[in-house]
C-alpha cells in the first residue's frame, strides 16, 4: 500500500473515532446534568419542601408546596384550553381539510410553534392581563395552552394519518357515517399515539418559565380560584437561583430535581408506550 493509502486509513480511523467522541460527549452531558441535579436536589428534598409555604426572606425553612400545586393548576388550565383546540384542528386537517385552507392552518401552526415563549408571554400579557387588571393563573394557563396548540395539532394529525385508509373505508363500508367512522374507529386506533403526543406536549410546557413571568407572576401563598397570581415551579427555580441565600439555592435544586424527574418520566413513558405500539402494529 502506498503512503497515501496509509494516510487515508489514518484519517479514517481518527475521524470515525472523533465522531464517537462527539456522541459520547453529548450523551455524557445529559448524564452529568441528571447526576448533578440528583445529588444536589435529593439532599434538599424533604417533607417540609413538599408541604410548607415559603418562609419570609432570609429565614430558614419553608418549602414550595404552593409552587407544586400551582404548576399543576396551570397545566390543568393549559390542558383545558389548548388540547381541545389542537385535537379538533388536527382531526380537521387529517380528515376534512381542503388543500388551500389546510395549508394555511398548517403554516400558522408552524408559525405558532416557532414563536419564542417569551413573545407568547407578551402576547397574553397585552391580551389578558392588562384588560383584566391583574396577573392571574388564568393568564398563565392560557399562555401555556397557546403553546400547546401547535404541538398537539401536529402530533394528532400525524398519528391520524398513520391509521391506514383501509380502516376508514371498512367502517364506511359497514354503513357508518363519516363522523361516526372518525370518532369510533379512526381516533381510537390512533388514541395511543395521540395521548402520548399530548403527554409530551404537557411535559414540554411544564418547564416553561418565560411565558409565566408576566402572566401568572408569583405568589407566596395558596392561590384560590383562577384570578390571582400563582406560584409555579419554574418561576420559583428562577427566582431562588439568582438569589444570594444558600437556603433558597438548596430549594431551587430540589425544585429542579422534581421538575426534571416529572419531565423525564413523562418523556420516557411516552416513548416506551409508542415503541410498544409500533411493535404490536407490525403483527
Amino acid at each position: 500500500m502506498s503512503l497515501r493509502d496509509y494516510r487515508r486509513k489514518f484519517v479514517n480511523a481518527v475521524m470515525l473515532s472523533l465522531t464517537g467522541v462527539c456522541a459520547l460527549v453529548t450523551v455524557s452531558v445529559l448524564f452529568f446534568i441528571l447526576g448533578y441535579l440528583f445529588v444536589n436536589g435529593w439532599r434538599a428534598l424533604n417533607w417540609d419542601f413538599i408541604t410548607k409555604l415559603p418562609a419570609p426572606v432570609g429565614e430558614a425553612g419553608g418549602g414550595m408546596a404552593n409552587a407544586i400545586v400551582g404548576s399543576a393548576k396551570l397545566l390543568l388550565i393549559a390542558f383545558l384550553s389548548g388540547v381541545p383546540v389542537g385535537l379538533m384542528a388536527g382531526i380537521y386537517l387529517a380528515e376534512f381539510s381542503g388543500k388551500t385552507f389546510g395549508f394555511v392552518v398548517r403554516y400558522v401552526a408552524d408559525l405558532l410553534n416557532g414563536v419564542p415563549s417569551i413573545v407568547m408571554g407578551i402576547f397574553i400579557y397585552t391580551l389578558v392581563v392588562l384588560p383584566m387588571h391583574h396577573f392571574s393563573a388564568l393568564a398563565g394557563g392560557l399562555a401555556l395552552g397557546a403553546m400547546l396548540v401547535p404541538i398537539v395539532l401536529r402530533s394528532t394529525e400525524d398519528f391520524l394519518r398513520a391509521v391506514p385508509g383501509s380502516l376508514r373505508e371498512a367502517a364506511l363500508a359497514l354503513g357508518a357515517s363519516r363522523w361516526k367512522a372518525i370518532a369510533t374507529v379512526v381516533v381510537p386506533a390512533a388514541a395511543r399515539g395521540i395521548t402520548t403526543g399530548i403527554l409530551l406536549a404537557l411535559a414540554r410546557v411544564a418547564g416553561e418559565t418565560a411565558p409565566l413571568l408576566f402572566t401568572s407572576f408569583q405568589s407566596q401563598y395558596w392561590s384560590p380560584g383562577f384570578n390571582q397570581p400563582i406560584s409555579s415551579l419554574p418561576v420559583m427555580i428562577y427566582t431562588y437561583a439568582i438569589s444570594p441565600y444558600d437556603n433558597w439555592h438548596r430549594q431551587a435544586w430540589a425544585a429542579g430535581f422534581i421538575l426534571l424527574m416529572l419531565v423525564l418520566i413523562a418523556n420516557i413513558g411516552a416513548r416506551l408506550v409508542l415503541s410498544r405500539r409500533a411493535l404490536t402494529a407490525r403483527e
Binding site: G58, L80, H133, F135, Y221, S243
Partner: protein
C-alpha cells in the same frame, strides 16, 4: 360502539361541570385583589430593598389576621411603579418617591407612605481582604464611571492605609432592573460628583458606563458573592444576611461611617424640617458629623381611592398596624424605624384613602 360514544359524552360533561364548579368557586372581582369565601388576597410588588421587612410584615400580619393574604413580588421599585400604573397590583412599593411629574402619569391620586429607613452599602468580594474598606464618594463615582479600574488604584489605597490590594480589575455590578436602590445610589453620586450628574444622572434605571448587571438586590448580592474582585451596592440587610463585608462611606463632613441603625436615623433627623413639609425628601449626603450618607426612606404607594370596602379597610388597617406594631420588626432586620414625627404625619394621612 354506543357505550364508547356515551362514555365520551359523559366524560366531557363531567369535565365541563368540574370546570364550571371551579370557576364558580373563584369569585371574580374587578381589580387586582379577590375575595374568596373568607380569604382576602392583596397583591403588591416593587422594591427589593424593603423586601425582607415587607416579607416579614406580611407574614406576621397574616398570622394575626389569618383571612388576609398579602402577596409581594420583589421586582424592583421600577416594577412596583409600573404595575401600579397598569392597575395590576393593589399597591406598590418604591424606594424612590414619586415626584409630581411621575404622579401626573397616574390616572388617579396616589398616597405615599414611608415605611422604614434603609441604608445602601457598598459590598465587595476581594479574595484575601477581609477588612472593612473605606470609600470616598469620588472612588464610588470613579468605579462606576469606569475611571477607577483596579483595586490598587491610589484613590482606594490612600483611603485604606495598611491594607494590601491586589492589582486586579474591579468588576462593578449594578442593578439590571428598574431599582429604587439604584435611584438612591445614583442620587448620592449625583450630589457628590458633578461629572456623574451630567453624564449619567439619577433614576431607577440609568445607562451604566461599565459593569455587570444583576437582577434585584438578590441578584447583585449573588453576583458579587460569586465573582472575585466584584463590587456592588445593596441594602444593608442583604450584606448582613449573606455574611458579606460592607464598606464605610465618607459623609459630607469627611468622616467614614459604617452603616448602622443609629447613623441612618441621624440622617432622617437632620431633615426634620423638610419632612414636615413633604415626606418625599431625599436624605442622601445629609449634614451632620455622624450621619450615614447613603440613607433612604422607602415608600408604599397606595391609591387614594379604593372602591371595594373590604380591601380599603384592610389596607388602612394594615397601614395602621405597620406604623405602630410593625415598626418593632425594623431593627432586628437592620432597618431603622420611622421617626415619630413621620409616624404622626402618616397616621393622619391614612384618612386620605377613601
Amino acid at each position: 360502539m354506543k357505550i364508547r360514544i356515551r362514555g365520551t359524552i359523559a366524560a366531557l360533561a363531567v369535565t365541563l361541570a368540574l370546570m364550571g364548579l371551579l370557576t364558580a368557586c373563584s369569585q371574580q372581582e374587578s381589580g387586582p385583589g379577590s375575595t374568596s369565601p373568607g380569604v382576602l388576597t392583596l397583591n403588591s410588588a416593587g422594591s427589593t430593598l424593603a423586601y425582607p421587612i415587607y416579607s416579614k410584615w406580611f407574614a406576621e400580619y397574616h398570622d394575626s389576621h389569618s383571612n388576609v393574604q398579602i402577596n409581594y413580588a420583589s421586582i424592583g421599585s421600577g416594577g412596583g411603579i409600573q404595575q401600579l400604573r397598569s392597575g395590576t397590583v393593589d399597591f406598590g412599593a418604591s424606594d424612590m418617591p414619586l415626584n409630581d411629574k411621575l404622579l401626573g402619569t397616574f390616572k388617579s391620586k396616589i398616597v405615599q407612605f414611608a415605611t422604614v429607613l434603609g441604608a445602601v452599602v457598598p459590598i465587595y468580594n476581594i479574595p484575601g481582604v477581609k477588612a472593612d474598606l473605606r470609600f470616598t464618594p469620588q472612588v464610588l463615582a470613579g468605579i462606576y464611571l469606569g475611571k477607577i479600574r483596579k483595586w490598587d488604584d491610589p484613590a482606594i489605597t490612600r483611603a485604606n492605609p495598611g491594607i494590601h490590594f491586589p492589582n486586579k480589575d474591579i468588576v462593578p455590578v449594578y442593578r439590571s432592573d428598574g431599582s429604587g436602590t439604584t435611584f438612591v445610589w445614583t442620587d448620592f453620586l449625583s450630589k457628590v460628583s458633578p461629572e456623574w450628574k451630567t453624564k449619567v444622572g439619577s433614576n431607577t434605571s440609568v445607562s451604566w458606563p461599565v459593569g455587570l448587571g444583576g437582577k434585584g438586590s438578590e441578584g447583585v448580592t449573588g453576583v458579587v458573592e460569586q465573582t472575585p474582585y466584584a463590587f456592588g451596592y445593596v441594602e444593608l440587610i442583604y450584606a448582613i444576611q449573606n455574611h458579606m463585608g460592607y464598606g464605610l462611606v465618607q459623609n459630607s463632613e469627611g468622616k467614614f461611617i459604617k452603616a448602622s441603625l443609629d447613623n441612618v436615623t441621624l440622617a432622617a433627623q437632620s431633615a426634620a424640617k423638610e419632612l414636615a413639609r413633604d415626606i418625599r425628601v431625599s436624605i442622601t449626603n445629609a449634614p451632620g458629623p455622624d450621619t450615614y450618607p447613603i440613607s433612604t426612606f422607602t415608600y408604599l404607594l397606595i391609591p387614594a381611592r379604593i372602591d371595594n370596602a373590604t380591601r380599603r379597610e384592610t389596607i388602612k388597617d394594615f397601614l395602621h398596624w405597620m406604623l405602630t406594631d410593625g415598626q418593632k420588626d425594623a431593627e432586628p432586620l437592620s432597618y431603622s424605624p420611622l421617626p415619630q414625627q413621620v409616624v404622626d404625619i402618616e397616621l393622619k394621612q391614612i384618612q386620605e384613602i377613601h
